[in-house]
């Protein structure tokens, strides 16, 4: 029996047992589809988190006071205090490093904002003009501390705050009171919503000098540093640590977090999650494989007389084994293909329903899903096919 004839004959057989074939293809397809949809979901979540992280800046390093290691036992580590704070002088020092493109010192506090007979508590960021580009924030209108006005009392309002205080009039050019100081509104942030649990629509930004005066401090909460390019992140980190150590009398009392490292960690965790979810979905494929085996065993029993006849008219054991094997391959192929389509359709629907979630199944998951479906289908058919091939012709013919 030639290969094309074997394939064609078994294909006709699959078609003629319509309901049986449909059900088994469906089982296979659901298995493949669940692998694709679930990995698409979890890979989409991974990309979502990574996008969120990237949206807070590129080539970003965060300098914070204190050491990440708690090996030392100075009292401050418990209280969240450190012997030496980060200062504006430190920040300016970092700005002179060759690997650093720009930096933004950062102080955070809360103060009462009042204007136009309205009053509310707001989160106050104190920084310089670089904060906006480093943190990838966008100004809807105006600007913040343009060159030459670094010392003036300017304030940038978050989108929601601007809207609350000046619902009908232009916010820019208005005077507001923050704590005990008066500020001139120079810009309004574009609405960005929540990112990394921090809502930029409800903050105000003022120059760092004013913030330090207002909160009566000389220390900085953070220094945000942007490296010149991606390859210099690591050397920038070393240079920053060295520079601060020198300025802090040889004490290694600062920590530098690179955005890359945080991103890589999240990427690893969520990638592992995708793998795990894909693996769980693959179990349903194994179940489908066992279903294929069961159906093929039933088919061998059902068609005992037919197998006997085929032997009587000259089919070899190899012919019969191949016929049943090819039948299982057709079923698995159809199941894998249909499952792939269903899975792509499913992840497309998820993307449609949640546009911010990039739910694309990774290529490896689709390939693995289809591969596992074919492999289990083929493996599961080996036993029934060889059982058919081994049937004794005389006994098989006797059955009806």
């Amino acid at each position: 029996m030639t290969l094309p004839d074997t394939l064609q004959t078994s294909f006709k057989t699959v078609l003629s047992y319509r309901i049986r074939s449909l059900l088994i293809v469906l089982a296979m397809a659901l298995g493949v589809a669940s692998v694709i949809v679930l990995t698409a979901l979890s890979d989409g979540a991974r990309n979502y988190v990574i996008n969120q992280f990237s949206s807070i800046g590129t080539n970003l390093l965060v300098v914070l006071p204190g050491r990440a290691e708690t090996a030392g036992s100075f009292l401050g580590s418990v209280l969240g205090q450190t012997p030496r704070d980060l200062t504006l002088k430190d920040a300016q020092l970092l700005g002179r490093l060759p690997q650093v493109k720009r930096y933004a010192p950062l102080n955070i506090g809360a103060a009462e904002l009042s204007a136009a007979n309205r009053l509310r508590e707001v989160t106050v960021l104190g920084s310089n003009a670089n904060l906006i580009p480093i943190r990838h924030m966008k100004l809807a209108q105006g600007n913040f501390l343009p060159h030459g006005t670094e010392r003036s009392a300017q304030i940038v309002l978050g989108a929601k705050i601007a809207n609350e205080f000046f619902p009908r009039s232009q916010a820019i050019g208005q005077r507001v009171r923050l704590g005990d100081n008066r500020f001139l509104v120079s810009g309004v942030l574009a609405p960005q919503g929540e990112s990394m649990g921090f809502n930029t629509d409800e903050i105000v930004i003022i120059p760092i000098d004013y913030a330090q005066t207002m909160f009566n401090t000389t220390s900085l909460f953070r220094i945000l540093v942007e490296a010149k390019n991606h390859s210099e992140i690591e050397s920038a980190k070393q240079a920053i640590l060295a520079a601060l150590k020198q300025s802090h009398d040889g004490e290694d009392d600062t920590t530098v977090i690179t955005q890359d490292a945080v991103l890589a960690t999240f990427d690893r965790i969520l990638h592992a999650l995708t793998l795990a979810v894909g693996g769980i979905a693959a179990i349903s494929l194994i179940v489908a494989g066992i279903l294929v085996m069961n159906v093929m065993l039933v088919a061998v029993n059902q068609r005992t007389a037919e197998i006997g006849l085929l032997k009587a008219i000259g089919a070899t054991s190899v012919d019969i084994r191949r016929l049943f094997f090819a039948e299982a391959i057709w079923l698995s192929l159809a199941g894998a293909f249909l499952g792939f389509l269903l899975g792509e359709l499913g992840s497309g629907l998820i993307r449609f329903a949640y546009p911010q979630l990039p739910a694309w199944a990774p290529a490896w998951a689709s390939i693995a899903g289809i591969g596992v479906a074919l492999a289990t289908g083929i493996l599961a058919s080996l036993f029934p096919a060889s059982r058919a091939a081994r049937l004794d012709a005389v006994n098989a013919l006797g059955k009806r």
Binding site: M1, A312, G314, L397
Partner: protein, 227 residues
């Protein structure tokens, strides 16, 4: 030419040994018309299965066309079944999901004959057995006589030298059975060896050589000189 020498076949039913064939010697020349008769359990079907290479003897030797068959591999035996032997069964053994034409085509497919050539030979077979009108009907849509004609067409489409028929008229009424028998006898007239197993005396008597079996032994072997 078929030559069986000292062929024995024993089945085991529980702890009981049943001697289906007991040291049988038999020679059938090419082109003979032989009937094998006997009550059920006499070993006549086992004999037919061994001649048809569906079963292997426990001991003894079997030569077909001067070739020792007993030692051949399974694959070789399948090839001989395909090319030299045609089976006709009491219960037709047609594949229910295939049409008449597709059932007839099966042995050609198994032999790896090209599709165009298959079409020619299936068409010829359908015509020879007056089944052209029924070519695309499934067995369930055919009468008993038509089904057996499809089965005979399938058995002969490879032009085998030997036709083995096991109770070919057992499931047919008398008149249709007679028609089927005359089809088989036509094949014999064109040179094919025809071996018919039956327990119907009238049917057996139509053969030119009649072999009687009982308890695994040949007890009678008569030839009509009129042949």
């Amino acid at each position: 030419m078929i030559r069986l020498t000292a062929v024995t076949r024993t089945f085991h039913m529980g702890d009981q040994a049943i001697h289906a064939l007991n040291n049988i010697d038999l020679h059938i020349a090419s082109g003979e018309y032989v009937s094998i008769m006997g009550p059920s359990g006499s070993g006549k079907s086992t004999l037919l299965n061994i001649i048809g290479l569906l079963d292997r003897p426990d001991s003894g030797s079997y030569e077909l066309d001067n070739r020792l068959i007993t030692d051949l591999s399974e694959t070789e035996q399948a090839r001989i079944r395909r090319e030299k032997i045609g089976f006709v069964f009491q219960s037709f053994h047609l594949i229910p999901r295939l049409t008449a034409a597709e059932n007839i085509e099966l042995p050609l497919i198994l032999s790896g004959i090209a599709p165009e050539q298959r079409q020619v030979r299936v068409h010829a077979a359908l015509q020879a057995f007056e089944l052209t009108q029924r070519a695309n009907h499934r067995p369930a849509e055919l009468s008993g006589g038509q089904r057996q004609r499809v089965a005979i067409a399938r058995a002969t489409v490879m032009r085998p030298g030997v036709i083995l028929a096991d109770e070919p008229t057992g499931n047919l009424d008398h008149q249709i059975g007679a028609e089927v028998m005359s089809l088989l006898e036509n094949l014999h007239r064109s040179g094919t060896t025809l071996i018919v197993v039956t327990h119907d005396r009238e049917l057996g008597a139509r053969a030119h050589r009649q072999i009687g079996m009982r308890d695994g032994n040949i007890f009678a072997d008569r030839s009509d000189d009129a042949a």
